[in-house]
Amino acid sequence: MIEQQNMTIVSHRSIAEDIFELVLEGSLTNRMTSPGQFVHVKVTSGSDPLLRRPISICSINQSLNQFTMLYRVSGSGTGTKVLSNLPKGSKVNVLGPLGNGFPLDELEAGQSALLIGGGIGVPPLYELSKRLTERGVNVTHILGFQQKSAVFYQEEFEELGDTYVATVDGSHGIKGFVTDVVDQLSLKSDAYYTCGPTPMLRAVEQKFEHTTGFISMEERMGCGIGACLACVCHVNGDESGLLYKKVCSDGPVFKRGEVIL
């Protein structure tokens, strides 16, 4: 069940250049089941910004009634900029949890998973990694960022499994893209899970043509619940061009090959 709730900011801090970690408290947390789901956040009660912002659930702490999201401030005058100014104690209106997350039962204990995240696509992989390791799955992370100042959550991921960080300019970790890391280290796995910019998703999909994979998509949204048809994508193999999936409610996670990236 999707719910709308005014949640309380219990912690809010900058963790990398333009990247913030926001911890929210409220009973809505109980409804969060699947890693990879997202919430739709109304930053202020006024009409500027008007629309909600889709942000992934990064980690869930049901005993504390809290969940964490990580977000990037995308510029001056943006909704995320306004959000970043809210102090601890403020209320934020959250609609969620939305969409379908990454399936956990695809892998069993002892099998291996590759989690590949790019930039602000990294956050949803964190809860996923926690859940997979709980199941006994061996998890390897490849996290790609623009440059050193943009890197976040490296230690958190390292606690859960092997973690390779790549930066485009080589200022931290391996120089290059996440797919370069896969090539250099000849990484293999029983399944992969990925979230990040569309060109990265495409490159990952091509690289692992024969591996089970799950891909989290991004699209500009209106309603976030499947009613407005803002966020549709085409379906692979549909010659009519008329079939579609809604990223918000059918996704954001799709099985590899299901939709056209």
């Binding site: 629309l51 500009r220 309603c223 009613a227 407005c228 048809l229 579609y244």
Partner: protein, 313 residues
Amino acid sequence: MNRLAMELPGLSLKNPIMPASGCFGFGKEYSEFYNLNELGSIMIKATTRETRFGNPTPRVAETSSGMLNAIGLQNPGLDHVMEHELPWLEKYDVPIIANVAGSTVDDYVEVSKRISTAPNVQALELNISCPNVKHGGIAFGTDPHTARELTQKVKEVSSVPVYVKLSPNVSSIVDMALAVEAGGADGLTMINTLVGMRLDRKTGMPIIANKTGGLSGPAIKPVALRMVYEVSQKTSLPIIAMGGVQDAYDALDFISAGASAVAVGTANFVDPHVCPTIIKDLDQILQEWNVNHILDLRGRSWMTHGEAAHHRA
């Protein structure tokens, strides 16, 4: 006492609040949030003769107190709507207003003829104002002559009253209203979106793949209100008004400007519960104000300031 119920051509409304077309799909998603029976009516997503995918994405962009959309009339097509969407809605005791679109006059006529026979469709809303498709849509909504003819043709075949949805992108909204009135329209719905655009800050390219989109939300409310004010004083057709309604006071503004009922679009995306909240608040405000029926407030903005002073005394 029921302060909110009313009769409009074809429609027995429990209350004058309904979701606007395209902002509520065919109701399924919002039925998870509340019982759709609470609504006065539902304006379903535009239906065309054939299945349509619509425009490429991105389809939406935010602007100051508003949003742009260019969905491009994506819909499953007349057959599917008749066979699945409308029957699903039959479990609710809510009159449906079917939004009709097409590329040619024939399209409109064909869709209107068939969809108006569905048992729960109590009225049609002719969408001659969609700014996001190459053929049809707004092309019918900016020329009074064309709009009048289309209205006439649809009236001939429709089994239910026909409301025409006006575009605000015109020099004279009153001329358009009079034209469709002359064409036999039973009511007006207004306004559809204003054509607008947003560019990506860095690349300078349009954010929306369709380049331009339709502007909705609070930003357009002053324009919508002015148009309802003008049109309601020049025609005798009832008006279902929309444009930037976010709360009960916004809805009352449109009634004061001369509308009879009010539709809510973009605000559903911000707050899925907005329609039932408005309905509840309206009743409470009217009670506080000692107003017996919401239509007692209809057109109160028309008075001159002198009359208003007199009225208050």
